[in-house]
Symmetry: C2
Subunit: 203 residues, 2 copies
DNA sequence: ATCATTAGATAGTAATCAATTACTATCTTA
DNA sequence: TAAGATAGTAATTGATTACTATCTAATGAT
């Protein structure tokens, strides 16, 4: 797994550092992840980390970038294969849950940044990510409404909040269980409840 | 507000400390709340805090105790006035949201503790709190099912998860807005979606 | 009034953190 | 092959953390 003892380029080390954070965040609170722990995990000295990132904060911005990129990709491919908005919502839901199951630290990193004083650059980035996500869901719901696939009187803003909350409820349950492996199974049981909640026509 | 420069009893100082944590947690990540900040907030020196609590962890256990006590009271009075399980769920929902609006740091403290290595005593306490809450909701849903007030084929475990997730979605929205004041209004829009999701008979 | 109790102040400790320094080893390329 | 660029080390910095030892003085019971 870790044969490389040679010098690596800054780009490669940056990747390693980001992945180390994602991994370490599965066992530690994000704020408790030290540059020392990161360095140790990839086999460097603590000071060497700062050869590749100017500050600890820059590392976290890179981690959020990674999240936005990879979750965004997963979402995009999920939506591409859908032939109607409601099916898109279902695929989005499953893609999101699968992403969290594959990267359990992702929601932890997001939520952890959300509950901080406003002028944090990392938090601003996370807020933007969530905002775009919510708008995407809201747009899907609006489309579904115009196509009469859901309750014509649907409050799509509230429905988007519920969509995110449904996923968060799943995350909380996996935190309670201390194990994210049951997540996809639990998701299958939650989705029909959500769909009925928005008045989706049973297919 | 409190010009008292006199000495206070340990019991009073413990109360002050717990309330200081609850207040400070509205602006800071819980782990970032130092004993120095607590002391400063109640007008003591940092060392004096340890006259009233043996350790920082003991402070947090006291905070969780406060949460369990006060949220439990709010829940109990909400359920007492309900005349059927579904109405109980609605009152529970509103009581919970009102509690969070009044104490915005509460969900933050809970969620923050949930994402830590397992052998943390504070986390164990929080886990117990959430477990009892979930069971309470599940029991309400089961009652509603036997009374035919909801979908007779309802998956009440999943419905309990969705119940918690719905509230969490609201919390997340208030974090996005950076302001918990819109919470009760948003809650009113979410509850009907949830009730339809569990197949509650419209009253 | 007296005096034991104890809340609080003062002034520390050791540990840990992100970040920086001076320097070395390795790679690239002209 | 020499020279510049860059990845890495070792050691250290100053700030901050939870926690503690020692002293002072307010409180309350007698």
């Amino acid at each position: 797994m870790m044969p490389a003892k040679t010098r690596l380029s800054t780009e490669e080390r940056q990747q390693e550092i980001v992945h180390a954070v994602l991994l370490l965040a599965t066992a530690n609170s994000p704020d408790a992840i030290t540059t020392q722990a990161i360095a140790q995990h990839i086999g460097l000295t603590q000071g060497a980390v700062f050869r590749h990132f100017p500050s600890r904060e820059a590392i976290w911005l890179a981690v959020i970038d990674w999240l936005e990129q990879n979750l965004g990709d997963a979402i995009a491919t999920a939506l591409d294969t859908a032939c109607n908005p409601v099916e898109g919502l279902q695929r989005l839901f499953n893609a999101h849950v699968a992403f969290i199951a594959a990267h359990p630290s992702a929601p932890r990193l997001v939520f952890n940044e959300m509950q901080k004083p406003a002028d944090n650059p990392v938090k601003q980035r996370v807020r933007g990510l969530l905002d775009r996500y919510r708008q995407r869901v809201t747009a899907l719901l609006a489309q579904a409404k115009t196509l009469a696939l859901v309750d014509p009187a649907l409050d799509e803003t509230a429905a988007a909040t519920l969509f995110i909350g449904t996923i968060q409820g799943l995350v909380m349950q996996s935190l309670l269980a201390g194990d994210p492996r049951g997540l996809p199974a639990a998701a299958e049981r939650l989705l029909p409840l959500y769909l009925r909640g928005i008045g989706a026509r049973p297919s």
